[in-house]
Symmetry: C2
Subunit: 208 residues, 2 copies
């Protein structure tokens, strides 16, 4: 099988989620057109995406919901559970620790870290909070793969340095700043300010 483009992977995760819902609703088949309606994409795009995983649909009938879900999950996620650690148990960090959708999707936050003595030793939503100095050991012991940065901007780079040397394979960065990490460790920035402002710019442009 060829290399799947990143965008296709992202949409595939969306298809998996949609298929789960359809399966729960006892639907045995679904067409690309219906998937398009639900996801807000086009039917061609969906067929193109799915075709990268092989010929799995049947003309005139569509895709088997269960079969397609399994194919996508096997190929994309390999049925693993993703172990995650989080840095920064502030407002945003706590909200992430309590985010209810992760368990359903094989994401497990296995530890949190903060510099605040008052928080260390506590549990939030069952997840223990440790001192930052303990991070490397716990990351290895709990087989964490992804690190989440939810600390204030000023502290982000320090944390990123810690992460990079602890064996984590990827970073989600909520801090509103670019962080420097060694090549080979992918970073996903989730920057609320940028999202809000760029949406606003788009609105301004459309109204001339």
């Amino acid at each position: 099988m060829k290399n799947i483009p990143r965008k296709t992977v992202e949409r595939a995760l969306l298809y998996i989620r949609t298929l789960k819902r359809l399966i729960k609703a006892k639907r045995s088949h679904v067409s690309s057109k219906e998937l398009a309606q639900i996801t807000g994409l086009t039917d061609v795009q969906i067929r193109k995406d799915i075709s990268s995983f092989g010929k799995v649909g049947t003309p005139r009938i569509g895709y088997k919901t269960v079969g397609l879900k399994n194919i996508l999950e096997d190929f994309i996620l390999q049925r693993n559970t993703v172990h995650v650690v989080l840095f920064g148990v502030g407002n945003l960090g706590s909200a992430i620790l309590r985010y209810p959708e992760f368990q359903k999707d094989r994401i497990k936050i296995v530890a949190a870290f903060d510099k605040d003595e008052a928080k260390i030793g506590k549990k939030i939503n069952g997840i223990p909070v440790f001192a930052i100095a303990d991070a490397p050991g716990i990351i290895k012991k709990r087989r964490a793969v992804i690190g989440v940065i939810a600390v204030p901007r000023e502290a982000a780079q320090d944390i990123a340095d810690t992460l990079a040397t602890s064996g984590l394979k990827g970073i989600i960065n909520f801090a509103p700043t670019s962080i420097n990490v060694p090549a080979g460790i992918p970073v996903r920035d989730i920057d609320f300010t940028i999202e809000f402002l760029s949406l606003y710019c788009g609105i301004l442009r459309n109204h001339h």
Copy 2:
């Protein structure tokens, strides 16, 4: 001036943020190369982006930090403050209400809404919480432009319908589901699960 591509706009917001920091550090000029280092982009990309706003740099010297910041802000944001309303004062919603970076960047959350009677009438970080039924009136009175959906998945579509008929011009959707809105209202999905899993997929792929 031509139409600025969306990606360029997003990066321009990043440049503005970086320039502010440089200005605070009393730097009068900066080269595309240095901006590239700080932001993690390439210098060519930065010159290309900036050139869409006119010829503002001087060869051999670089860009004037203050001048460039003003040009970008004027063109992109038009020096407005963006008024935002938020739906869903749960863990994530509360964290967004308390997010400290918004004020610095001309984003102002002017009201929040929740269906929970216990929360209505309270203030969080100075932002009042109202009943959802009050949304259309308050959105108009406070000139809100963007609505944020931070409610559970099941409630997201209902809220989206409310938003669309209240005169809001754009939506930020944190709920892990696609929402249907009338054409002409742009939606930005910020989907934690998708971000985590697609990062993980990329990691899996790179390690074969």
